[in-house]
């Protein structure tokens, strides 16, 4: 089984999910060298499937998976295997989810301070919306 085949399958299942271009480097920075990329992908795919199926209602699947952090922004939470990662996302006007930024939550399972990540995520969201407006 080739990776491209699996990614194509996932694309069919998930539909359109956009990502901010820096997301890849942020995820690699958090997981690289730790040998945990396989674990991350497993948990990431699980959340992506739930997000694509449930949309804004994904937060009903529990605070250990998703939480709403303000009127526009949501957080994908990775607590398993001590990954302690958060991925902030939002929804575009057409309802498509867009993944905006990833960061390592140093405080682990305790309450996350989203102040700085929220500011960055909102800037990125506006950038994407603006880019889409301008074609």
């Amino acid at each position: 089984m080739k990776r491209e085949d699996i990614i194509s399958q996932l694309e069919c299942i998930l539909g359109a999910v956009l990502c901010y271009s820096d997301l890849k480097d942020e995820i690699l920075e958090i997981t690289d060298g730790s040998g945990r990329i396989g674990l991350f992908i497993k948990h990431f795919v699980k959340r992506l499937i739930i997000l694509s199926q449930k949309g804004k209602n994904a937060i009903s699947c529990g605070y250990k998976l998703f939480e709403r952090i303000d009127s526009e922004l949501y957080s994908m939470i990775f607590l398993e295997d001590e990954l302690n990662i958060r991925i902030l996302y939002a929804f575009l006007p057409n309802g498509e989810p867009v993944l905006l930024m990833a960061f390592y939550e140093r405080s682990g399972k305790r309450h996350t301070d989203y102040t700085i990540p929220k500011t960055i995520a909102m800037q990125r969201l506006n950038e994407i919306k603006e880019g889409q407006k301008n074609g």
Binding site: I6, L10, C19, S21, K24, I41, K42, S60
Partner: protein
């Protein structure tokens, strides 16, 4: 600025093998399906474990993608939760090479001679009165 999810997945999974990527993806897919079914039934893990006839610890492992399922277990889960199953093995479509059938690029079985068709040339063909009368 924005990227497709497939680019991100291909980028972050660069350091692991196709086999590990496939395994992680399927673990995530199964974990997502079971979690969503439990949420749809409005059950916590303990209630769901009772419903499924297993321990809460087992449900937790299912939802974290930590179980190496046997086909029997997957069939039991799918039956109980009314989840459709399909064979994970799918024949790869083979490219068609001119001049014969092929199962691999190097193993071409030529078409039988009687199947060969001369190239059709209609340059010398003109409608004559007899054709028109038949029409």
């Amino acid at each position: 600025m924005d990227k497709e999810l497939s680019d991100i997945l291909a980028g972050i999974s660069d350091s692991i093998s196709d086999k590990d990527f496939t395994l992680a993806t399927y673990q995530g897919l199964i974990a997502a399906e079971i979690t969503m079914k439990r949420i749809e039934k409005k059950m916590n893990q303990t209630e769901f474990a009772k419903y499924m006839g297993v321990t809460q610890g087992m449900v937790s492992k299912w939802e974290k993608g930590e179980t190496n399922f046997t086909l029997g277990t997957l069939t039991n889960i799918a039956t109980k939760l009314d989840i459709m199953m399909q064979c994970p093995f799918v024949a790869r479509p083979t490219p068609l090479y001119s001049g014969g059938f092929t199962d691999t690029k190097d193993n071409i079985t030529p078409f039988p001679d009687k199947w060969k068709v001369e190239a059709y040339d209609n340059s010398s063909y003109q409608l004559v009165d007899s054709d028109l009368k038949e029409m």
